[in-house]
C-alpha cells in the first residue's frame, strides 16, 4: 500500500513538470501585451517599458522559462503582476472559499443525488422515477448563471432570506452551494440510478432476497455498496473540477474563490497567477484521483494495490 502510494506520488512529478511547461507556453501564446494590460491605456510608453522590465517580460523566453522552472523547484510560484503579492499567498487566500463551496456542494450533491438515484432505480418506470430523471435532466441542462440569478431573485430580493452576493455573511455560502450542487447532483443521481439498476439485476441480489434478507439490507448492503464504484469516480472528478473553482457561480455570487482569481488573472494577463492556479488545479486532480483509487479499495475489498 505504502509503496503504491509512493509510486503514485513520484509519477505525479513528471506530470506536473509537463503541466508547468504547457501552461508556461500557453499563457504566452495569448494575444495582448501583459505590460500594457497591467499599465492601462493612459500609461506612457516609458511607464509601460518600466513595468515590462520589472516583471522580466523583456527577457528572452528561454530565460523566463528557466527562471520559472528553477523557482518552481524551490516551491516559489513568483509574484502576481496584478497585485504584487506572492502567487502562493494569492492562491491560499482564495482556496478556503473554493474548498468550502466544493465540499458543501459535493455533500449536497452526493446526499441528494445518491438518494434520488437509488429511489429511481428501485421504482423503475414509475412516475417517481420519471420525475427524478426529469429533475436530473433539468439540473444537467440548466445554465448555472440563470439558476443562480433565479435563486437570488427568489431568496435575496423577494424573500430577503439570504444574501445576494459575497462571502462576508456566513449564510452567503448557501445559494452558491445549491447552485453548484444542482449539476453534480443530477450527474450523481443518473449515475447512481444506472449503476443500481445494473446491480439489482445481479444473481447475488436475487440470492439475498431469496434468503429473506430485509429489503433495506439488500438495497444498502448488497446493492448500493457494489453500485458505488462508478458513482465514486463521478464524484471524484466533479470534486476535482470544483476545486479548480466554479467560475460562473463564483462570478454570479461574487464568491472570492480560485475560479474568479483565474479569470481575473487571465483578463489582466497575470502570467504567474495563471500558471500557479493551473498547477494547483493539476495537483488537486492528481490528489483527488489518488484518493478515489484508495477509496475503491475500501469500498471493494477485492481491489488490492501492490
Amino acid at each position: 500500500m505504502l509503496t503504491y502510494l509512493a509510486r503514485r506520488v513520484l509519477l505525479a512529478v513528471p506530470t506536473l513538470i509537463g503541466v508547468a511547461t504547457v501552461i508556461f507556453m500557453l499563457v504566452r501564446l495569448l494575444p495582448g501585451d501583459p505590460a500594457r494590460t497591467i499599465a492601462g491605456v493612459l500609461a506612457s510608453p516609458e511607464d509601460v517599458e518600466r513595468i515590462r522590465h520589472q516583471f522580466g517580460f523583456d527577457q528572452p523566453l528561454y530565460v523566463q522559462y528557466v527562471e520559472f522552472m528553477s523557482r518552481l523547484l524551490h516551491g516559489d510560484l513568483g509574484i502576481s503582476t496584478r497585485t504584487g503579492a506572492p502567487v502562493t499567498q494569492e492562491i491560499l487566500g482564495r482556496l478556503p472559499y473554493t474548498a468550502e463551496l466544493a465540499v458543501i456542494s459535493t455533500v449536497i450533491a452526493v446526499g441528494v443525488g445518491v438518494t434520488l438515484g437509488v429511489i429511481a432505480a428501485t421504482r423503475r418506470g414509475s412516475l417517481l422515477d420519471l420525475g427524478i430523471s426529469g429533475l436530473a435532466v433539468f439540473g444537467l441542462s440548466m445554465p448555472v448563471y440563470w439558476l443562480g440569478l433565479m435563486l437570488i431573485i427568489l431568496f435575496a430580493i423577494q424573500l430577503h432570506m439570504l444574501p445576494a452576493a459575497g462571502a462576508q455573511d456566513p449564510l452567503g455560502v448557501i445559494l452558491p452551494s445549491v447552485t453548484l450542487a444542482a449539476f453534480s447532483m443530477a450527474l450523481v443521481a443518473r449515475q447512481a440510478r444506472s449503476a443500481m439498476l445494473e446491480v439489482l439485476g445481479q444473481d447475488y441480489v436475487r440470492t439475498a432476497r431469496a434468503k429473506g434478507a430485509p429489503r433495506r439490507s439488500v438495497l444498502l448492503k448488497h446493492a448500493l455498496r457494489n453500485a458505488l464504484l462508478p458513482v465514486i469516480t463521478v464524484i471524484g472528478l466533479q470534486f476535482g473540477s470544483l476545486l479548480g473553482g466554479a467560475v460562473l457561480t463564483e462570478t454570479v455570487f461574487s464568491w472570492p474563490g480560485v475560479g474568479r482569481l483565474l479569470v481575473d488573472s487571465i483578463f489582466s494577463r497575470d502570467y504567474p497567477v495563471v500558471q500557479g492556479v493551473v498547477l494547483m488545479l493539476a495537483v488537486a486532480f492528481i490528489g483527488v484521483n489518488l484518493l478515489v483509487d484508495l477509496i475503491y479499495a475500501y469500498v471493494d475489498p477485492r481491489i488490492r494495490y501492490n
Binding site: L30, P31, G32, D33, P34, R36, T37, I38, A39, G40, V41, L42, A43, S44, P45, E46, D47, R50, I51, Q54, R82, T83, G84, A85, E90, G93, R94, Y97, L149, I152, I153, A156, I157, H160, M161, L162, P163, A164, A165, G166, A167, Q168, D169, L171, T251, V252, F253, S254, W255, P256, G257, R260, L261, D264, F267, S268, R269
Partner: protein, 524 residues
C-alpha cells in the same frame, strides 16, 4: 431535531439576517446624520491599493478615501487645494513651483504631515524601483525639496501648464513616511496605504471586500459613517440584485438596460454622474487597404451616416451625451465646435462624390470594456450599411487581445475602424489631445487613428507649456475645430457614470472622471 425546532432555528437565522442589515443609528453630527455601516458595491477587485500604481478610477477612488493629494478636484472638476493650503507660486520661467502646505495636519497613524513627507511620496512615485509605479506626465518633475515644513518646492524639466491639475491624480497622493515600513509595506510596495484621508484601512479579503473605518482624527469635516465596506461584485446584474435586496447601499455601473426600471423604483435613487469618457470610432486615417479613408470628406460622410441620438436613446438608455467637440464638456479647454447631424442622404451623396460608395471596411470593437460597447458597434455598422458601405464586423475579442490588436504601428493595423473609449486621468484638454497628436502614434502613444496634422500638434504643444490659461483655452479650441473638421473619428458620445443608491442614504456624490464619492454619505 424535530420539525418545530428546525423552524425555530430558521426563524432565528432570518431574524439575525434582518437585523444585521439595519445598523444605522441616526444621531446627528457635523456633516450629516451619523451612521453605522455603508455598503458599497463596485465591479472590479483593485489590483493594488498602492497610490503610485493606480490604473483605474474605481480603485483610485477607494485609495482616495484613505490618502489625499496636494490638490484635488471638486465635484465640478475644478482643481482645488487639498493638502496644499493654496495655489502654488510659479517662477516666471514656469519651471519652479513653490507649493504652500497645510499645517497641523496629521496622518492617521499620528505622524505629522509636512513638506518632507510630501517630498518622500512624490520621489517614491518617480523612483523606477517602486513596484508598478506610473508617474505618467509627472515624470516632468526634475526634483523636489522641502523649503521648510510648510513649503514644497518642485522643479520641472520643462514648462508644463497643467502641472497642478496633474497633481490631482491619485498617484500623487501623500503617504505617511513611517507607514512605509509597517503593516507589510515597503518603500517599493504599499499594501496598506496610510494617509491623511477621511477613512482608514481596516481589512481586505481579496476578491470579496475592503473595509474602511472613519478617521476619527480627520483634519477636515469628519465623515458620517463609522465604517464603509466596499464589496467586490463583478457581475452587473448581481450588483443590481445586491442593492435591490438591501445587501448594498450604493452600487456603481448597474446594467444600463435596467436603469429605466431602477429609476421608477422608490427604494433607490439613480445618479447619472457626469464623466469624462468619450466613446468613438477611430478611423485609420492612413489606411492602405481602404485608401479612401485617408480623405477627410469621406470620414465626415461617415459622421453624418451615424445617428448618434438614436444610439444614445436606444442602446445607451440615455446614459450619454452626444459629442459636439472632440472631448467631453467637463475638460478644461473644451469648447463646442459643431455637430454632425444624422443625414443618411447627405452621407450617401458625399460618399458618392468621393467615389467611396459601397466601399468595404473592417470594424472592430471590444466586448465588455465599456457599457454596451459591442452593441453600439453593431448599431454603427448598421448605419454605415444603410449609407451603402459593406461593413465587415464588428469583429471582437477580450480587452487585452483587442488592445494589443489596435495598439500597433500603422503598417500592422488590423481594422479600418475600431471602437475605443478615452477618459483623461485629470480634466485637462491636453490629456484628450493625446488622441490627436501625431507624436503619439503607436508605439509612442495610443493615437490609434494615426491622425496627423502639424497645425494641431503645434497648437497642443504650445498650449502645453503656456502659462496664460485663457490663451491655452483659445489654442485648444482652435485645435478642436481642426480635429472636428478632419474627422479622424466618428464622434459618438460622452458616456455618463451611473450610480444607484438606496433612498435611505444621502450625500452620495461623484467627480467628473468616473469616480464616485461616498466620503460624506450619511443616512437620509
Amino acid at each position: 431535531m424535530n420539525g418545530r425546532n428546525l423552524a425555530l432555528v430558521v426563524a432565528g437565522l432570518l431574524l439575525a439576517v434582518a437585523c444585521g442589515g439595519n445598523n444605522s443609528t441616526g444621531t446627528s453630527t457635523g456633516g450629516g446624520k451619523h451612521g453605522g455601516t455603508l455598503n458599497v458595491a463596485i465591479g472590479i477587485d483593485p489590483d493594488t491599493l498602492d497610490p503610485a500604481a493606480q490604473t483605474t478610477t474605481t480603485a483610485s477612488q477607494i485609495v482616495d478615501m484613505m490618502v489625499e493629494r496636494l490638490y484635488t478636484m471638486d465635484s465640478s472638476g475644478n482643481t482645488v487645494p487639498q493638502l496644499a493650503s493654496g495655489d502654488p507660486q510659479v517662477s516666471s520661467d514656469g519651471l519652479t513651483y513653490t507649493i504652500p502646505l497645510r499645517t497641523g495636519v496629521k496622518f492617521s497613524d499620528g505622524t505629522a504631515f509636512n513638506a518632507a513627507a510630501a517630498k518622500q511620496s512624490i520621489d517614491r512615485l518617480l523612483d523606477p524601483n517602486t513596484f508598478k509605479t506610473q508617474p505618467g506626465v509627472l515624470s516632468v518633475i526634475a526634483s523636489t525639496s522641502a523649503q521648510d515644513d510648510s513649503h514644497l518646492v518642485v522643479k520641472l524639466k520643462s514648462p508644463f501648464a497643467p502641472f497642478v491639475a496633474a497633481l490631482t491624480q491619485t498617484n500623487a497622493a501623500i503617504l505617511s513616511p513611517v507607514s512605509l515600513t509597517q503593516q507589510g509595506n515597503t518603500a517599493q510596495k504599499v499594501v496598506v496605504p496610510v494617509g491623511t484621508g477621511t477613512y482608514v484601512f481596516k481589512e481586505r479579503v481579496a476578491g470579496d471586500h475592503i473595509t474602511l473605518s472613519a478617521n476619527t482624527n480627520y483634519w477636515g469635516t469628519k465623515p458620517n459613517y463609522d465604517t464603509q465596506v466596499i464589496k467586490i461584485v463583478p457581475d452587473d446584474p448581481s450588483r443590481e440584485a445586491l442593492i435591490r435586496s438591501g445587501g448594498a447601499d450604493v452600487i456603481i455601473s448597474p446594467p444600463l438596460s435596467d436603469l429605466p426600471a431602477l429609476s421608477k423604483d422608490s427604494t433607490v435613487k439613480v445618479l447619472a454622474a457626469k464623466a469624462d469618457r468619450t466613446i468613438f470610432i477611430s478611423i485609420d486615417t492612413v489606411d492602405q487597404n481602404v485608401a479612401l479613408l485617408q480623405k477627410p470628406e469621406v470620414r465626415q460622410a461617415l459622421n453624418y451616416a451615424v445617428d448618434k441620438k438614436t444610439i444614445i436613446q436606444n442602446v445607451m438608455f440615455g446614459q450619454a451625451v452626444e459629442l459636439d467637440a472632440p472631448m467631453s464638456k467637463t475638460l478644461f479647454g473644451y469648447c463646442s465646435v459643431g455637430t454632425y447631424n444624422y443625414d443618411v442622404n447627405k452621407a450617401k451623396s458625399m460618399l458618392q462624390a468621393a467615389g467611396a460608395s459601397g466601399m468595404t471596411v473592417k470594424l472592430g470593437s471590444p466586448t465588455g470594456r465599456y457599457p454596451q460597447d459591442i452593441k453600439v458597434a453593431q448599431a454603427v455598422a448598421g448605419y454605415l450599411r444603410d449609407a451603402g458601405l459593406n461593413v465587415q464586423g464588428p469583429m471582437t475579442s477580450d480587452w487585452p487581445t483587442y488592445l494589443g490588436s489596435v495598439n500597433v504601428p500603422p503598417a500592422q493595423a488590423k481594422y479600418d475602424m475600431h471602437l475605443l473609449g478615452w477618459a483623461p486621468a485629470y480634466l485637462d484638454a491636453s490629456q484628450q489631445f493625446e488622441q490627436f497628436r501625431s507624436d503619439r502614434i503607436p508605439p509612442k502613444g495610443l493615437e490609434t487613428s494615426y491622425y496627423s496634422n502639424q497645425q494641431v500638434t503645434d497648437l497642443v504643444v504650445k498650449a502645453g507649456s503656456e502659462t496664460d490659461q485663457n490663451q491655452r483655452k483659445t489654442d485648444y479650441c482652435s485645435a478642436s475645430k481642426i480635429v472636428w473638421n478632419d474627422a479622424p473619428w466618428i464622434f459618438l458620445y460622452n458616456q455618463s457614470f451611473p450610480i444607484v443608491y438606496s433612498s435611505k442614504v444621502t450625500g452620495v456624490g461623484s467627480f467628473p472622471n468616473e469616480k464616485f464619492d461616498t466620503r460624506y454619505a450619511s443616512p437620509a
